[in-house]
Amino acid sequence: MIPDPVKWLIAFLAALVLQTSFVPAISLGNATPDLLLIVLFFFSLKYGVMPGIFVGFFLGLGQDLYSPSLLGQNALVKTLTGAFIGLFNERVMRTDPLVKTVLLIVVFIVHDALFMAVQVLKLHDSLGSLFSGLFFRTLPRALYSVAVAALFYLWEMIPKPSVRK
């Protein structure tokens, strides 16, 4: 049996590798699924706020180091998003697939809104670009990501052999 931290590390690394290599090939117009955010979503949902904060921070920092024009932007956004998802921790509340789907769309909106807010504040972009970005980019991206995340749901729905302790 692979321990959980190793599984999640593999999941994050696989998401990072696929995001930089495979995902651009399957983009539909502006819509590209964000695998890192999907994995962060499931991670924070399972482990709560604090792990979500730190994992989100390091994931975002890693993304920032690849594009250091605004160092800290992705780190901040992913930290806050990880904390936000952690509020709906499975230990606190049970969520069925439908709620998770809606929540994932909301998470995408929150994530992109935060991202663009930082963009507006730091690079003095117009507020109009923030809203048009939310509408034209975030929604298709969120829907596409939900479709991809459905694979995770299917994985969770497959009955697993019970482990005798």
Binding site: G48, V49, M50, I53, F54, F57, G60, L61, G62, D64, L65, P68, L70, L71, G72, Q73, A75, L76, T79, L80, A83, G86, V118, K122
Partner: protein, 277 residues
Amino acid sequence: MQWIIRFFATHRNITSLVVVAGVCLWMLSSSVLQQQLISRVLIYSIFYPFHFYIAQTTHIKNIFAENRRLKEEVASLSVKLAQTADRTQENERLTDLLDISRQYPYTLVPARVVARDPSLISRSAIVNVGKDKGLLPYMPVMTTRGVAGKLIKVMGRMSLVQLMADPANRTSVMIRRTREIGILETENGTDFFIMFRAHADVAVGDSVITSGLGGIYPRGLLAGLVARLEQNRDPLFKKAWVKIEANFDRLEEVFVIKMPPRWASFKSELDSLEAAP
């Protein structure tokens, strides 16, 4: 101080978020030069070890792949080298055989040993020539170094050779220097000897050649050298141990001397005598 620690302990999530978000905001608010410096520090302190580890892993993986490729190449080259060495040796042996065929005034049929007696004593061998080359039973077989045996069974494309190492095989020989005649024989397939009369002129180092009296081997084929002389228990005889020139354990190419036994011409008369009442 106590209340700060207690506050952090009770509000872990909030404090973690504030601290991390504070770090992010500090990074965001810093100047471009500072951001570059922070990026460099982070890359070298946090991400570089991962990159280094991944790069090293990839490098090691490449080394393994290269090692495997080199091993395969070495194995392939070793096989080729062995084949080349084998061909070279075969070439040398065949050159020797060619020289031999020029030396002897007989028709020599080159043959390759295709099978050997698997027992401890190499009594026989099978060669890849037979009736197709016009061979007959009792034709002598020789190597580049000396006489090896005779054909005892000839089939279509192969023949069975009775080697001199067979204890049942006895060969009429003579000492080249003094023309003393004797019978070359063996009891174990490795130690060969000739019984001579006690006063026969035989010395260590004398060449032993076929005498031509047995009717199978022509006169003058080298069989071996006298290695040792031993006084027999019977004072009338002495034993000359002979070191045979042909190596029966490593026979590969041989020659069949295309010479039917000299008694073959009398065979019909002998048979008619046997058939007579």
